[in-house]
Symmetry: C2
Subunit: 382 residues, 2 copies
């Protein structure tokens, strides 16, 4: 067995976050992170985690650094779970090729990750982060896609949806071991006309974490089961069909209905869970108005007050013009919009001065896949 001089393999990847169009809420297996229902998502090209992983030979502690801050791994068990699984897969692979396992060679990981968005903004950056770790480890260890998908998932459930571009369908699977629980790109070409406008609304309230929230809902909601069994499968089909036929109105209708239903089952929980705040509701109202007489925008909210509004490229500027009449947007954010949307003159007079404040606005195309920035050093040589 050979290896490079220092016994270090390194790879860098860049992975986008994703936003669910039909929401994941509830686990059928807490340990393996197997969901109770299918979900379907698109990536947000501009919001990414850029992650470098080094796999270092020898005894040592794993380290993870995100945006220049060290992560305390003892209180973030998910990283340990991912590293353990990665090293198990590595040993298994060697065992398969050598016929016996060489446990004497130990390794540890060093992860350095940068998100181009504040983690505290609550934009599901952990999904992009764990997808990046999984993708990097896939390169380092030559894993197949299903193994990599699983690695992402046990880090953060919805991370597996960031492992490819296009419309991604995360199938809940039926098997107890989770082997058929995998996120796959649907066959269709990317619908490159889809853009999203993301609005960060700060919120003083203490948020119910999604793992905890899902558990409460699964244990107490009398509506969740019906949603999972009857509503979600139909909606997954509707989304696929609307995406394949480029039917924006149909797509938008399902996106909004499913966001609302996700928040409805949160409210149908004991104790009730609320993620939407007054600004979120103002945004809903703004979109409702904008959608008269024709549906041109679809809002969706994850487990927090921030909004993601999906529009077609041709409607981005129009939508931002509608936004600024109802919600306070930073001048800076408007001035740093992508070139093609910046030419529009957002009239100062049109801008609102009410209490709904968007602390950060981002406009992004959707559907790009992750990127491997450096080729992996061939682990076969280790």
């Amino acid at each position: 067995m050979s290896q490079n001089e220092s016994g270090i393999s390194e790879v860098t990847v860049e992975v986008p976050m994703n936003i669910a169009l039909v929401k994941y809420w509830g686990k059928r297996d807490e340990k393996l992170i197997l969901p109770l229902n299918d979900s379907i998502s698109l990536t947000v090209d501009k919001l990414t985690a850029r992650t470098t992983i080094r796999m270092i030979q020898g005894v040592g502690k794993h380290t993870v650094e995100i945006n220049d801050e060290k992560v305390e791994l003892s209180s973030n068990k998910r990283y340990q779970t991912v590293f353990d699984e990665a090293l198990r897969l590595q040993r298994k692979r060697k065992e398969d090729s050598n016929g016996n396992e060489n446990r004497s060679v130990s390794h540890h990981f060093e992860v350095i990750s940068t998100t181009n968005f504040p983690v505290a903004a609550g934009l599901a950056s952990s999904a992009a982060g764990f997808a990046a770790i999984a993708l990097a480890i896939q390169q380092l260890l030559n894993l197949d896609d299903i193994q990599a998908n699983r690695l992402a998932r046990i880090g953060s459930g919805s991370a597996c949806r960031s492992m490819s571009g296009g419309l991604v369908h995360w199938k809940k699977g039926e098997k107890d071991d989770g082997s058929d629980c995998v996120a796959v790109k649907t066959k269709d070409d990317n619908w490159t006309d889809l853009y999203c406008v993301i609005l960060v609304f700060n919120d003083g309230r203490k948020k119910v974490g999604s793992s905890e929230g899902m558990r409460w809902t699964r244990e107490t909601s009398t509506l969740l089961k019906h949603r999972i069994e009857k509503v979600v499968p139909e909606r997954i089909d509707l989304i696929k069909k609307a995406y394949a036929t480029r039917n924006f109105e149909d797509l938008a209708r399902v996106i909004m209905a499913d966001s609302n239903q996700f928040h409805a089952v949160c409210l149908d929980t004991v104790p009730p869970i609320r993620y939407l705040n007054e600004s979120s509701w103002q945004l809903i109202e703004t979109v409702e108005k904008f959608n008269q007489p024709e549906i041109k925008a679809a809002y969706t909210f994850d487990a927090g007050p921030n909004a993601c509004v999906i529009v077609q490229k041709k409607d981005v500027s129009k939508f931002i013009n509608a936004l600024i009449r109802d919600i306070q947007i930073n001048t800076d954010d408007l001035e740093t919009l992508p070139e093609e949307f910046r030419s529009i003159e957002y009239q100062k007079d049109d801008r609102t001065e009410n209490n709904f404040v968007c602390s950060k606005l981002v406009v992004s195309s959707m559907g790009s896949g992750p990127e491997i920035c450096t080729p992996s050093k061939n682990l076969e040589l280790i």
Copy 2:
């Protein structure tokens, strides 16, 4: 046929509003006001409509006056519906006794109603108002309880639940003509220990009216049907059982879960309907805290932000003490509490100064029935 000298019959009644413990939301027949699901309620003794009806012989226009303001009947069709039905029943009764109908004697109604609570506070005063009209007409025309119940219901659906005291079960019925759709007092003795604390939270938003909201939910929610078919029947049974066995914790659990589920199906509507505001959510949080480690209070919200918190008599003062730490309550309201709750010294220091403002607080016992204040002049003489 005889009548009193002036040809006028008059009766005065006083009828309490009621609050649903399992909510009514959705009609199976819009015209007859037949609900999609059973509901169950308690009356609020202190919030009443006191109504005098005169039935005047001769051609003339019906008039309705509420709290000294004339109601424009052309834009409030429900009154006309009720009066038409009342006069139809009167003619039918005469026809039955005389063998032929005497259409030549016409009548009209004069209604004068006073609620001891501002109508604008959004406390379902129309339910008490229509129940009062129905009860008064029952006295005037010697109607049976089922006829009176129907009269109340076609005025305002949930009004039929104010026609008697105790725990009242409004059965949706199965028949198309609504003949088995009736609100009945459950057999149990009144649980006189139940009190409610009502908090009025003003709200700048334009509210979606309940008739319109129900229609939207019925037409667009994919959760409502499951609620109606599976969840509500179980909850009606649970409420009856908890009430019969005086099990407050069980009663409270169902009350809160059903309020939340009602608002969840509102959110699962296209477009989504929201009635709870920030103050409502603060109240939910206050109750959650108060219920540690033992459930002693149950919140419930109708189609608006105002809260009704049900507690046992022994816990009223304790609950108000918890309230004033989180929500601004008028000093006046505290000073005019019923004698038995007034002795508690609400410490000035304990009182909050945040933004959650309760504009009116009312404490009331529950479960009283309506009262007939004057005996009806015997219509048999007309």
